[in-house]
């Protein structure tokens, strides 16, 4: 994996060159880091007094409570989005043309607009029309609508990526449409889609941080109020960023494990080869990449 495909095993002369280059670039990177640290020291940002609040249990409890609310919104959003996505995928593959068009229009609409717009709409928009929706529900609604459309695309791509022979064989042994879907097509498609689904869910988790604009008390909002109270916004934001990274990194590692294990067991090429995709972006490279990219 780390051995780049672009270089052969190095000879003595090349090894010396790489060593020199390593020392030089290493020194340059260290110097850059040094400048940053020096700057932080000069501005008093590394003083213990600014970090100390983060060791108080009451502060930690407040922030971890925010993480809890982040995860709660993410979990509710994920559940709904998966349901919406599955429904959309099936409707887009339906036999009636009108149903297909409606599902396509719905998908294209919610996939094409920014999540933030949906969040504003489902909170302040609905409130203007006298619907008293809580920040939590508004956030979950927006997350579900947006990610439902995204997941619908992934599901559809997964189903379409399956060899047609699978469906034909299922019909040939007398299964009905729904039997073929549920027993033959979806189980295989789901396996291929797992990495893409997980990365979309990680994006969803990150996007819950947008809840802070509609006063949902999640991690980022709590970090803002903590930073204002102790006058250490830089330190608290860095701490919160590390929390997010820890959660997301763990999730993508687990996903990768699952993918590798599945590929070993089933020898099936997964749809996406990278984890933590921002969008459907990386999904389509895979078909070609999956064959050569043996990690």
């Amino acid at each position: 994996m780390t051995a780049p495909v672009l270089a052969d095993a190095l000879g003595p002369r090349a090894r010396r060159k790489v060593l020199i280059a390593s020392v030089v670039t290493g020194a340059a990177l260290a110097a850059l880091l040094g400048v940053a640290v020096q700057r932080l020291v000069d501005k008093g940002q590394l003083e213990w007094a600014r970090w100390e609040p983060l060791t108080q249990w009451s502060v930690l409890k407040f922030l971890l409570g925010g993480l809890g609310d982040t995860l709660r919104a993410a979990f509710a959003g994920m559940t709904l989005a998966l349901l919406i996505g599955a429904a959309l995928a099936l409707l887009r593959l339906a036999q009636t043309a009108v149903v297909r068009w409606l599902a396509t229009a719905w998908t294209e609409f919610f996939r094409g607009v920014p999540l933030l717009l949906l969040i504003f709409f489902s909170y302040s928009g609905l409130r203007q029309y006298g619907i008293d929706i809580s920040p939590f529900r508004a956030l979950v609604l927006a997350l579900a609508l947006y990610n439902g459309a995204m997941l619908g695309e992934i599901f559809r791509a997964g189903i379409l990526s399956l060899d047609r022979g699978q469906t034909e064989a299922a019909y040939a042994i007398g299964l009905s449409y729904w039997q073929a879907m549920l027993q033959v097509v979806i189980p295989q498609a789901a396996r291929r889609m797992t990495p893409a689904i997980v990365s979309q869910l990680i994006t969803l988790l990150k996007d819950t941080s947008l809840g802070f604009v509609i006063t949902y008390e999640e991690l980022l909002r709590r970090s803002r109020s903590t930073g204002e109270f102790f006058r250490n916004p830089l330190q608290v934001t860095v701490f919160v960023a590390v929390l997010y990274i820890a959660v997301n990194f763990t999730l993508s590692r687990i996903a990768r494990r699952l993918e590798v294990r599945q590929r070993r067991r089933l020898g099936a090429g997964a749809i996406a080869t990278t984890t933590g995709v921002e969008d459907l972006a990386v999904v389509s490279v895979s078909a070609a990449a999956a064959v050569r990219d043996d990690h």
Partner: protein, 214 residues
């Protein structure tokens, strides 16, 4: 509907900022992404480590947190930018991490023989990358790069939280002023679709055009 037509100038001004912000950030993202991808495949270990560190950190941090960190955190060390340049840096840096991953997966699709042949002609590593491998790699990931462009267009709306007067920022103000949220937000949604759907079509066309037949 009248609300939208009466305030069409608001939508146009917002859309202009959104498009400008997106294009500038995309240019930054492509630059950052290609450099990081080159670092990640380079034979020099410190560059590889720096590349991995960058991608894993940036990709796993919510964009909103990056905005807050840059706009409210960095002034504490006297690094101050206006909202718009901050937005370009944050959006470009964030999307750059995804571009890097995409380009790297593109590099992996270029067959090994290409690099071997280039090396046997006597090209050095940077030459192999620049002249032979990257042009092929980039061609194979035009589609995914288009997906990132669309994601970036939508993500640019998050600049509203640091009061860059782009489309969502302006329409949100308009919705509050006029108390007509549904038509105003719908108008904004249509404006976004006017950018995202055609760029999807354009990138697909470009993808077909530059595709290699191997």
């Amino acid at each position: 509907m009248d609300v939208v037509l009466d305030n069409l100038d608001v939508f146009i001004a917002g859309l202009r900022t959104t498009v400008g912000l997106t294009l500038l950030s995309y240019a930054v993202a492509l630059g950052v992404g290609i450099v990081i991808a080159a670092c990640r495949v380079s034979p020099i270990p410190p560059l590889r480590w720096a590349g991995v560190f960058y991608v894993e950190t940036v990709r796993n941090t919510p964009l909103t947190v990056l905005f807050v960190l840059f706009f409210f955190g960095l002034p504490k060390v006297d690094i101050l930018f206006e909202p718009f340049p901050t937005a370009v840096i944050v959006l470009g840096g964030y999307t750059g991490a995804f571009v890097a991953e995409t380009v790297r997966s593109g590099i992996n699709t270029v067959s090994r023989g290409q690099a071997e042949a280039a090396r046997s002609l006597g090209l050095t590593f940077p030459q192999v990358l620049r002249i032979v491998v990257l042009p092929q790699a980039l061609r194979s990931v035009v589609g995914p790069l288009g997906g990132l462009f669309i994601a970036l267009t939508k993500n640019s709306s998050i600049a509203a939280i640091i009061s860059v007067s782009e489309l969502v920022f302006r329409t949100d103000n308009l919705a509050n002023e006029t108390a007509r949220a549904v038509p105003v937000y719908l108008g904004a949604a249509v404006a976004y679709l006017l950018v995202t759907i055609p760029s999807g079509v354009a990138f697909r066309a470009l993808e077909r055009r530059v595709a290699f037949r191997r």
